[in-house]
Structure formats: C-alpha cells, structure tokens
C-alpha cells in the first residue's frame, strides 16, 4: 500500500502526542498537592487548573482524531484499490 508508511507515522505521532499530554496533566495535578496559602499562590494554582482543563480538551481532540484514523485508513485503502482497478482497465 502506498500510504501505509505515512498512515503508520501519523498514528505514531498521534499516540505519542496523547501520551505526552496525559503525562503533562498528571504532572500538573501534582502541583495541587503542594501548599498554596497566599492569594497569589491560589491565583497561580487557578491558572494551573485552567491549563490542565485545556490539556484535557486537547486530549479529547487527539482521541477524536485517532478515532478518525481507522476510518480514513479504510477509505484510503478502498480508494487506492479502486484506482488500481481503473488503471488496469486503461
């Protein structure tokens, strides 16, 4: 298949991006166990929580994208086969 290497690489990139994002979320969670007593400390922690929620959204987007990977692969395979058949007819 002409596209298999590109699709494999894309799948790997997406998988790795997801793993790294999840790890970053865990890292940010660890800040929550520290002491933030002052108002400023609380403000900092609020921003960390906000960033963490963005990363959760990003993780969801990446998971959705990964979901489309399999259907895109199937479609490409079918289209490629169809084109090959057409070429043989010509």
């Amino acid at each position: 298949m002409m596209f298999s290497a590109t699709l494999d690489s894309m799948a790997f990139q997406l998988d790795d991006a997801q793993k790294t994002t999840r790890f970053a979320i865990t890292q940010l969670d660890s800040i929550g166990s520290l002491t933030w007593q002052s108002q400023a400390g609380q403000a900092f922690y609020d921003r960390v929580v906000n960033l963490s929620s963005w990363l959760e959204k990003l993780n969801q987007v990446l998971a959705d994208a990964e979901g489309y990977m399999s259907s895109a692969t199937r479609e490409i395979q079918e289209l490629e086969l169809e084109i090959m058949k057409q070429k043989l007819v010509f």
């Binding site: 002409m2 596209f3 590109t6 699709l7 690489s9 894309m10 990139q13 997406l14 790795d16 991006a17 790294t20 994002t21 790890f23 970053a24 890292q27 940010l28 660890s30 800040i31 520290l34 002491t35 933030w36 007593q37 002052s38 400023a40 400390g41 403000a43 900092f44 921003r47 960390v48 906000n50 960033l51 963005w54 990363l55 959204k57 990003l58 987007v61 990446l62 959705d64 994208a65 489309y68 990977m69 259907s71 895109a72 199937r74 479609e75 490409i76 289209l79 490629e80 084109i83 057409q86 070429k87 010509f90």
Partner: protein, 451 residues
C-alpha cells in the same frame, strides 16, 4: 513581577520544575500534532494526484475530518504551550523574588546583630579548642561577606551564594598563581587489585577510607575503586592532602577545583579508573568522599560525562561542605557532619536535607573514646578526623527508626571479600592528541611567509 512571596520555598521550587517540564512536554506535543497534520494533508494531496491519473476526483472524507480536528488540536496546543510558558516564567520570577527577599532579611538580621554574632563565635571557639564549630564557621564567613571588595553588588543573593561566588574567584586566582590552567588530571599509576573483607555495616566506609588517609606522602594523590558486586562500584575519594612534598590533585587547589570548576577536571580520570576496574556502560556507581573528597563526590553526581556512562545512584560524604552543591533528586545521599567540625561550615551554609532521598545527620561532637584516641594538634582538630566520622558511622548504624533504616540499608556492603584498586592521579601539562597536532600543522601550512 510575578507572584508575591509565599510560605513554602520548596513548593515553589517544585512547582517551577513541574512547569518547566510541562512546557517542554507541550513543545513536543506541538511538534507531534504538526507532523500528524502535515501527514494528513499530504495524504489527501497524494490521493487526489492518484485519482487524477485515472481522471477521477478522489477524496477521503474521514481524512478531511481528521485534518480539521488536528488544526483545532494544534490551535489548542499552541495556546496551552504559551500559557505554560507564561506560568513557568511567573513562578520562576516568584521564586527569584522569594530568594532575594530571604537574602535581604538574612543580611538585615546579621547586620543588626554583629557584636552578638562575634561574641557567639568566640564563645563557640573557646569551648572547641579555639576552632569554630560548624555553625560559627558559617556565621564567621557570612560576616566576612560584609567586607567584600565588590561590596555593592550581589546583595540580592544569599550569603551562601555570595560565598560560593567568592570561592570561585579565589579558585581562578589560585589556579593562575599555581600555574594550573593548562594542566589536566591523569592516572599515572595503577596499584594491583587487593581483596579486603569488611563487616558490611556503615563503618565499612570508614575502613575503606582508612586505606587512603595518612598513608604517607608517597600515597598522596590516590583514590580507590571498590567493586561490591558484578555490576556495582564505589569510588572512594580522600580528604585534602599536603601537595608540597608529593604533588596531589587532592591538595588545596583541589578544593578550588571542587567549588570553582565543579570537579569537572577529575571526571575523565575517574571514568578511566572505573573502566579499568571492569565497570561497563550502565554500571551502578556510588561516590564516597571524606572532607575534600565529599566536595568532589557531590559535584560529580551531576557530571554529564559520568552520568552519561554510568548509573550514579548513591553518595556518601563525611565532614564535607556541600550545602551549596545541587545534587540530583534521584540520588540517595547520606551526609555526616560533626557539630564541632569547622570544615562542613566552610561554604557558609548549613547542609540541610534536600528531599526524601537525602539524609544529613549531625552529631554532637566526638565521643570520649575518640578524644582519648586522638591528639588535637592538626589544623581542624579531632572533630574532623576520619576516625571520628568512623565512630559516627557506627553510631548511626545503631539507629532503629524504620524511616532511617530504610535509607541506611541501601548503603550496606557485602560481607564477602571485595575487590579494591587504588589509582594515583597527578596534574600534568595538557598534551595535544594526534588529531589536534595534525590540525595545527595543517593550519600552519596555510600561513604564507611574510615578504
């Protein structure tokens, strides 16, 4: 200016490290998502081109959705990455503010209590054979910082940082006057391996260090590699030696090398000695240092060359001033200090526990037995003697608290005979490699003679 000073410096420091790591992670995610998006677009273009070869319009709808999802993801990761950078900068600034404020308060307090501090130092010295105990040594050095030549600069720094900076300047001056700039430390002698038996407890480190201390001037400049099992080694580094009669890299210039150059110039010789002793890439290496040896041990735990080759996982120091040295978090370290010993205070900063892997134990002066066994005429006196630290190691090993035991047990050695090998190192004028020599010859060949 970032967030204001809060209550817990360790939490700020940890949060700063976490934010730095997250920022790096998000940069990586950015690259991955970009690459995936590029691949999706390229696949669609290639598919179209393939379709055109059979005069057909071809497109994968799922690939379109995937590409658009990735565009959205990229926008989100770009925003998150920028936010993470901002948060990192802010918390870093807050940490800086905190340290500067602490430093200013520290100066104010000492400045308003100079007579009292001086009286305390003299009182401490009177009770300690006219040698300042650790804490008074630190105060004395802090007071000296008020009389620095560059008095106007650096007051935003803690006393500890100022003392380290001054030591670095002194190290440069010392190197210059001793003509040490163009010298490198090399192994000049390798003793035959010797098998020794130790009882396996903490005082085994004392027994092994004893093989390097006070062995006569001809033994100067030697350190030792101990193989404790198939793939584990200990590098034993001695205390300061008199380099006048027989030259030794562990002389007073060595202290400067430790503080001023992070012991970088010792790394090659030590790596060589480890390899000669059988250590391979990834072998576990523990550093054990007494006095000056402890400074090198602490510095070399973060040495890039050694870290890249071996697994540096444990460190033990006896009577060494290492408070200002950053030790990697994953290193298990055990530091012993005697309250009456002035040497651990030579960096002007109390050596504190830096995290769950680091344990500093401070003892309340030499025992009566040790006092009877030793004489006081040496520069630093009985509290700094190796035998005193051997006694403290024994005492520490009797501690039954589970949290302490868990840390100490990691340092125990096998009772079976272990292989030891001494290596002598010396400072030698730097020699050029064959490649460097060829480069110089080639360069000279390009220079035209004057008319």
């Amino acid at each position: 200016m970032g967030y204001e000073v809060s209550y817990n410096e360790f939490d700020y420091a940890k949060a700063y490290l976490v934010c730095q790591k997250v920022t790096r992670d998000l940069e990586e995610v950015q690259e991955r998502v970009k690459a995936a998006q590029r691949a999706a677009e390229q696949s669609q273009h290639r598919l179209s081109a393939l379709g055109m070869s059979v005069c057909k319009v071809v497109r994968s709808p799922s690939l379109d959705v995937l590409a658009s999802k990735l565009v959205g993801g990229l926008a989100l990761v770009n925003l998150s990455s920028q936010d993470s950078k901002d948060i990192t900068a802010t918390i870093g600034q807050a940490r800086g503010n905190y340290e500067a404020a602490e430093a200013r308060v520290e100066h104010e307090i000492l400045l308003t209590s100079v007579p009292h501090a001086i009286a305390e130092i003299f009182s401490g010295m009177k009770d300690n054979d006219m040698r300042p105990p650790t804490e008074d040594m630190e105060t004395a050095l802090r007071l000296m910082m008020f009389f620095r030549i560059d008095l106007t600069s650096g007051w935003g720094q803690t006393f500890g940082q100022q003392i380290v900076n001054q030591t670095k300047h002194l190290a440069t001056v010392l190197r210059h006057f001793r003509n040490q700039q163009n010298k490198e430390i090399v192994i000049t002698q390798k003793d035959p391996p010797e098998y020794v038996s130790v009882d396996g407890g903490l005082d085994s480190y004392y027994e092994l260090h004893s093989m390097l201390e006070d062995q006569g001037p001809e033994e100067n400049g030697k350190f030792m590699v101990v193989q404790t099992d198939k793939d584990s080694y200990i590098v034993m580094l001695p205390g300061t030696q008199d380099g006048r009669e027989y030259e030794s890299p562990f002389d007073d210039v060595g202290v400067g090398d430790g503080f001023g150059y992070e012991s970088e110039n010792y790394a090659d010789a030590i790596a060589q000695a480890l390899e000669d002793s059988g250590a391979k890439d990834g072998s576990e290496v523990t550093f054990s240092g007494y006095s000056q040896g402890g400074i090198h041990a602490a510095q070399l735990m973060k040495n890039k060359k050694l870290k890249g080759k071996f697994k540096l996982n444990k460190m033990i120091t006896l009577g060494s001033p290492i408070a200002s040295i950053d030790i990697p978090d994953d290193v298990r370290s055990l530091s012993l200090e005697d309250k009456k010993d002035m040497v651990p205070g030579l960096d002007g900063t109390p050596n504190k526990n830096r995290g769950r892997h680091h344990l500093t134990t401070i003892f309340d002066g030499p025992s009566e037995r040790i006092k009877r066994l030793t004489r006081e005429e040496s520069t630093f006196g009985t509290p700094h003697k190796l035998i005193n630290y051997g006694d403290h190691l024994q005492e520490l090993d009797l501690d039954t608290r589970p949290e302490v035991r868990e840390r100490l047990d990691a340092f125990h050695l096998p009772r079976t005979p272990i292989k030891t090998q001494k290596f002598k190192i010396q400072r030698k004028p730097r020699t050029m490699t064959k490649e460097q020599q060829e480069k110089v010859v080639k360069h000279l060949g390009t220079i035209s003679p004057g008319h």
